[in-house]
Subunit: 430 residues, 2 copies
């Protein structure tokens, strides 16, 4: 009888036990409420799609990581590896039914067969929100405001670093640079991962000396938006529309009361061929070392692989796992929200209906009640309440009274009847 | 430039657009709150598992439907086709960390490559709740109560049909039947799908004449629990423990105030080799023709493929898609819950900050506001509000006043300032 199958998950995959799952679901619910309050509506798409749909945009690295196979009908299919490509396909397919601009959010699992590292898994959640069919500065500002607002509601106030994807190309054009600006962008993208000397040497290979110092000056953190916009002005007429765009956005963020959370940072590049306008990252105010917890930018055309209709937009993506880790470190996750707050003990002999009756009477009075269903010793029942983080325990006694214990403090009290028991549970903080 | 990829989903798969997705998420949230209030906690498991884990229990039909393939590391993997097998593996794997009895719910997608029919898809949600490590009548009664309670909170009061998997085998044993009771059970399982004459002919092939009439009598709907339990009594001592078990459960359902929703129905078989105790189905009180929306039963040993520890339990599964269809037919789904209730119009020239400012001022006063971000004609903006089912529209005027329209009724009013506008929006039902 020992031919048991070893119970295990695949490498890079993991179960979510209740303590973790409750925290994750509650975080998602808080973000979701923020998105909806701004008119962003949820969508969902299949986990499995035609390989051609998902890989049409994929580069070499992505392609290697995608789970793909042949289905029962001989179709080449793949598991989605992000929420952007399915959203592009979705928008092209349902365009006629969607309001434009279309504001949506999507929270769902994606799969990538990359080598698992600390904090990186082969199955993980993404949480994206976008507005497409939108070109105005209002739409840029709205995504930034919603980042600040949703993360604040999630218990994680952020500072946002803002840039514009065309600043560097505009500087390079002014310098008479004739190569592909992407080469310089790629180098800037790696800036934080390499030594400063290596970075400068790389720039020197691509640019004349004067150009190197101008790039370095531009990437240097500016003390204020005035200073940052001043640097853009010095780049000449090329940069005038960018400067105007940023000013329009900043005026809106000021009205939204979050301008003091938004900082210029022209070293942000992100998505080398995808983004075409503003780009941004955000960091927990109390834990900036964690890295960006929400980032995104403006793109010119979401669904060009699937439709001729141009769909410009702007969006952001929350790094849910990283955010959850950060909230845990800050003690900002909910412990046990909205599960049972009272546990009713069962009689040791398992014969009595008292526990069951007590549970019903407390439920009728509005309490959230977990009743122990098996005949077990009190020690096992206390352990049950502790494992489930239930603060209150009610033990029905033979004489009709109730012993009520508050586990976090150890306080115990005997109450004569169910009314008094209910009043105690209702009145005291748990 | 016409080499566009046609935007389409795979056969048997579908997107969820906002109207539908909001209804589904809200239904799930209501069920989830009910589960949690009884102490049932959420878990999650990977979509992808070792093929050996998922198919250890699979029969021929299941095996054919499962999406499976070889991953990048040469492992045989499969997409889960239900939530029961992953739960069994989960319980065996994390046994030491789990409270016992373990009360959990799991709402997640599963995949089956079966031929799509009306209302059946290759990707769909399951919603299971179980208590394992539990043998008491309390645990049986609790699952039944939670079915009634959660579906009522979801807007769908049900009547529950209850039976016990051992009634028919016990009758057959009393009749001296020497074959495998599963043959008779399999026939009873098909009862509603075949003609009554065909059913009786099938019974006659398996049983003597007297046996046929006893089986038919047992399966006949009983007018009351007294009558149903009386029939069990007439089966003799074999059935005494079953009768006692049902009586214990009924006493608990009576205390829970839902006995009048629970009916005897000994024609229910369900899961031919899985269930070993009570089995049940439930039907919408106002739409019984829809079929069972939640069903389940008691099993002897959840995780026997993965651990030697015996884990008896009882659980139920909500047919989410069917339930949602039923709620729609009954007009019981939420239209647009908790999305924006006010839309602020943009100026046609797109130059003014008035719309943006108005949105902020309304948000600061607690309203859920969707602001139109693009310079479009009023007709397009009205259409936007209608597509998003937003009841209120606020149009900032050049003189600082606001035109407020309630779209469902067509009522319009001009308010002098933002305070009056906010008061109107707050005070009137939407």
């Amino acid at each position: 009888m020992s031919n048991l199958i070893p119970p295990q998950t695949l490498k890079g995959f993991r179960d979510s036990l209740p303590v973790q799952e409750i925290k994750r679901r509650d975080l998602m619910a808080r973000l979701e409420d923020a998105f909806r309050s701004f008119g962003y509506e949820p969508i969902d798409t299949p986990a499995l799609e035609y390989e051609e749909i998902l890989l049409g945009k994929g580069g070499g690295e992505t392609e290697k990581q995608v789970y793909r196979f042949e289905d029962h009908g001989g179709r080449r299919v793949a598991l989605r590896y992000d929420l952007t490509v399915p959203f592009a396909r979705f928008t092209a397919q349902h365009r006629e039914q969607l309001p434009l601009p279309f504001k949506r959010y999507h929270m769902a699992k994606v799969w990538r067969g990359e080598n698992p590292q600390k904090g990186r898994y082969r199955e993980f959640y993404q949480c994206d929100f976008d507005i497409v069919g939108a070109e105005s500065p209002d739409s840029d500002a709205e995504i930034l405001q919603l980042m600040a607002h949703s993360l604040k509601l999630a218990g994680a106030p952020v500072r946002i670093h803002l840039s514009h994807r065309k600043i560097l190309p505009s500087l390079l054009k002014g310098l008479g640079f004739e190569g592909d600006p992407v080469e310089v962008l790629r180098l800037v993208d790696k800036k934080d991962k390499i030594e400063q000397t290596e970075f400068e040497a790389g720039l020197s290979r691509l640019l004349p000396v004067a150009g190197v110092s101008q790039v370095l000056n531009l990437l240097d953190p500016a003390a204020s938006w005035d200073e940052a916009l001043g640097r853009l002005e010095s780049l000449g007429t090329e940069s005038a529309p960018i400067r105007q765009r940023l000013q329009d956005i900043l005026a809106r963020l000021d009205l939204a009361g979050i301008l003091d959370q938004v900082y210029p940072d022209f070293s942000i590049t992100r998505g080398l061929d995808y983004y075409t306008g503003v780009v941004f990252e955000s960091f927990l105010q109390d834990l900036s070392g964690l890295g960006s917890v929400c980032s995104g930018g403006r793109y010119d055309d979401l669904a060009q692989l699937y439709t001729k209709e141009r769909l410009p937009g702007v969006g952001a993506s929350v790094g849910l796992d990283r955010l959850l880790a950060g909230l845990e470190e800050l003690g900002q996750t909910s412990g046990n929200s909205a599960c049972a707050s009272v546990m009713v003990f069962a009689a040791e002999d398992g014969q009595s209906l008292d526990s069951w009756r007590t549970a019903q009477e407390l439920r009728r009075r509005g309490h959230r009640v977990d009743v122990f269903t098996e005949a077990k010793k009190p020690a096992a029942q206390y352990q049950y309440a502790e494992k489930k983080r239930i603060p209150w325990v009610v033990i029905p006694k033979a004489d009709g009274s109730f012993l009520v214990k508050h586990l976090p403090t150890g306080r115990a009290q005997t109450l004569a009847n169910i009314e008094a028991t209910s009043a105690l549970l209702a009145g005291m903080p748990s």
